[in-house]
Symmetry: D2
Subunit: 336 residues, 4 copies
């Protein structure tokens, strides 16, 4: 069987094309999945345009976050059967515990990177690389969990042990940020969200943000809104000098989850707050499969609906990638 996929033959922004490739059969412990949706991350764009230093195999298919239906299973498969609705895991083989790598070779073996990507009509992967999709989400929604959803869950819940009454500061209104907002509300927390865009602030308020503030001098506003208590949890999306604002706003013994690099690949921190307030600064790189299963269970229980800014068709991948540059409100998804 042949199936369509988006691929590049070389790194660079203009090389994307649709091609056909043979679909691998589901042998051994492999599962053949028909794609229904793929959620995009800004990282996908970086890989396509720069390769990010990864050992890509050409033709290279991008994309990591797929939702689909199991079409066939190999004889050794025990966790799935045909007809099951599934989603991929961002780091194949990271079942639980630390990422797979070491100090010299940091873990970064992801789909649509070290491993092939998923913007294909069909994929055939080891069953370990999938989890069951939530029952309460359609495929477009479900496809947003493996990277953006799990990153927010891992920061706030798995590592951050968020509890009702905690104060959470979310920077921006991208995919991870809005999952952070929604998960914080589901756990009874208080949420402050920042954005430079007044309309996005309004939409964040409608999603449940308790406070929505501008990006100008935001740390001072957080201190005012919390009567100097500060924020228990901060999603650091910008990095760069913005990190100094995060250190100003963080509560004593609070937690700063470093997730994004919007303002640059260096972090700069005045030491005084880091020492005296003793926050935990936690680098984040998505999370493991067990936590993704926890997230799926939480989504089904709480009826949380991921925020999709816009859905594109398979043929519209180039337009979808351009949308990423404009800073979506939530997620951009390719529906098949």
């Amino acid at each position: 069987m042949l199936a369509k996929q988006w691929a590049i033959d070389d790194v660079g922004p203009t090389n994307l094309m649709v091609r056909e490739a043979a679909v691998e059969e589901a042998t051994g412990n492999k599962v053949l999945v028909r794609a229904e949706a793929v959620s995009l991350n800004y990282r996908d764009k970086l890989v396509l345009e720069t390769g990010m230093g990864l050992p890509l195999q050409f033709p290279f298919v991008p994309g990591s976050d797929l939702a689909g239906v199991v079409e066939a299973v190999g004889p050794g498969v025990t966790r799935f059967k045909p007809g099951d609705r599934v989603i991929t895991t961002f780091h194949p083989g990271r079942i639980n515990g630390p990422g797979l790598g070491d100090a010299r070779h940091p873990p970064y073996k992801t789909l649509g990177g070290y491993y092939p990507g998923v913007i294909c009509q069909y994929v055939t992967f080891c069953e370990d690389w999938f989890v069951h999709a939530p029952k309460t989400l359609d495929a477009v929604e479900a496809s947003t969990l493996p990277c953006a959803g799990l990153t927010a869950w891992f920061a706030l819940v798995e590592l951050g042990r968020l509890k009702a009454g905690d104060k959470v500061l979310i920077q921006g209104t991208g995919g991870v940020a809005l999952f952070g907002l929604q998960l914080a509300k589901v756990h009874g927390a208080e949420v402050i969200i920042t954005s430079a865009n007044a309309e996005k602030l309004e939409r964040a308020r409608a999603l449940g943000a308790d406070h929505a503030i501008g990006r100008e001098n935001w740390a001072e506003r957080v201190l005012e809104l919390t009567q100097d208590y500060g924020a228990d949890h901060i999603f650091e999306i910008a990095a760069g000098a913005n990190f100094g604002q995060s250190l100003k706003a963080v509560a004593v013994n609070g937690r700063i989850s470093v997730i994004g690099v919007m303002d640059g690949f260096e972090l700069s921190a005045p030491m005084q707050s880091l020492l005296l307030k003793s926050p935990t600064v936690q680098g984040l790189s998505v999370g493991h499969r067990r936590a993704l299963e926890d997230l799926v269970r939480a989504v089904d229980r709480t009826s949380l609906k991921p925020v999709i800014d816009k859905r594109y068709s398979f043929d519209e991948l180039p337009q979808a990638l351009q949308h990423l540059d404009r800073g979506p409100f939530g997620k951009i998804v390719i529906g098949f």
Copy 2:
């Protein structure tokens, strides 16, 4: 009763003088303690010379880490009796849990700072400010626990949950560093220590360091010594650009305890390792009283002996402070 104390009338390096002051009686829940030793920290020098922005009361007595003997107790005292050997707590009133402060006013109410210091023949404080001294240490040794000892314990044990087989990287051979080395060995860990001074490296080896290496390009050496695994725990003493080396050397999901500011008051971090290796970067500001009691218990059980570089007499405080500038191997203590 009058007692001698070292004090300044104004901030500045040359104002130190010995004066006599009335000794407060032990009323209510207060305890009168005759000092036997005071351990110095580099911070004492900074407070004397710059005030560190603190609301000092003049005449101001420096020093935070005292060991002594209870001479008298107020009628409300329940934890101590005359004759008990005690040490001070660095942050008076921080019994357990977070430091006392908020996001705008970071916790920094210490002895010899916001509160008066302890380089006096007698001090009279609330009983809550003391813990029992270890039975196996003399006063000079015991005086090193409240700040340097507890900082290392809090980083490695209370927060770091150090276990046998862990790999610990210690920067330098100062007071906190050598406690880190000794506590790591007591828990069965592997220790790599860095110093620019060959003789100090030799002394560190004699104290149990498994590897003692130079400061030049130390992160690469750590990777080699650990077959690329990296270090589970890092004591970041230098800060500044050195932090980039720590991020290079840290193991996947390892922990960097940020303790000192030897190289400057800014921290600069390349983001890639912070994201991909997902270490925990933990600011440290000593610790709480319950953990100090745990440390005392551990010292008595394991016969750990703090490393005293040199002991000075009460009259030699100026010389002792000068010694701090030269970078002692372990602690400098004033014995009374």
Copy 3:
């Protein structure tokens, strides 16, 4: 000033009387509080009737959970001012960390026990014994937090790290049980509640319980309702042989919080499930002040309203105590 209080002159069910006693002034670090409500616990009845082996001082005033208003403060008080609304802490002086006691003398120094109780018009205690009341609760509601509310919070949140999607099994519909139900829902969990009373099951459903089942063979029902997954958290209220049901129903690596002794003062456990499913069985004795402050914050954020079965007037204490015997749905409170 004289104030009315309920007291006994000797242990026994029939000795309760209203008497007048002098109100202590607020000196030192003490706070004078005018009572507005006292919440009752079954323990209050046991103390009155049996003394529970405690060294009671007669006339003995019962009760531990008070909400009131600060009337005056001593000169050393820093955390409260007149007019502040406050609630008591169940274990005076337990600020954070373990209870105050040792292996031979288990911690049980509570108000209305080792310490005097609070069914008085005025109480004068050390400021450490109070926390600020939630802004969103009236005094009758707020008085239910120090014992019942904190026990449920400590089990599920402080120790249990409850998260959205977790499955929580609550036994019964008493005060702790209904707090457990409400706190679990506030954190996005799934709740199964058991009761032998069909009407109470109906009311529990109205409060948000996802499943409400009878007490007959309840563990089997939990397995069915969870497709054999079991319960992540169990509130063990009955003890005795019922504990075997809890071990049958608990999920792999789940948590059983042992809270009550409805069915007897012995716990009996078949070992196989305890070994193979490796649950954590956690004895509970309310909690510490820092956690109570966390609960207050959570209540204010989430608008959780404690369930009051019936409110009695100060004069109706005997009737209120009789109501405890009948098994209230939620809490019984004396409003002043």
Copy 4:
């Protein structure tokens, strides 16, 4: 190739025989290992004699804890190469996190039980079922880690977060008990060990036990030895009514790891200590592969040597099993 193995054709004590069976080749992700030693557990005896309700496949080979050398690897194997020294994992496939099972079907898929055993000259298993053996142990010593060593490590270190100065109470001098003693000493803890046998107490003292006491009224002795503090960690090996002694001896907020069933398959607990001292009672069922790798690393770092009571040859399995009945001091191992 044919290899010798011990097996039974039916459950019962007298059916053990040596037989020859074909050795499976190392295909796919499988590894062929030549056995050098198998460590025995009392459980092996129970499986042979009663089947323990497990779905055994006959001829059934007993034994779970093997040390050996990799002879050949399948083409998909990435973690091992021929010549590597390896040990088995007790629960195949439990990489990290909870055991594999659910509330109705508790996890108990072990080697020499649900899966075939290892008292064979050669075994061929999936590479996931092995870890690298410690460099500092010979095969006989290394074979004791997968069950006894890991159980003690999991209780004290992985779950118990043992630290220097903690007080550890070990019941008995069997395999798990002596690992507990040694691991506690490696972490700087204080160890009290109980035994009814004076000679074993003497040997335990020689291994580093700080206190070695009789089994008569042991809890009272623990209180005396700790000045009423109690024990932070208790290894509950006997269960039954002995558990009441453990509750008496446990420190406030201490931990009781329930490991064995020497005195019966029921646990009986007076509730008062369980409530007031609020210990954590933790059922244990060995542990996961990641923790076994941690243990291996700790053994190599600290030069801990497992205690082997007696080594038997392959042909002496019946005698070795009889030795188990007599209560060995440490482990019984079959050396090939």
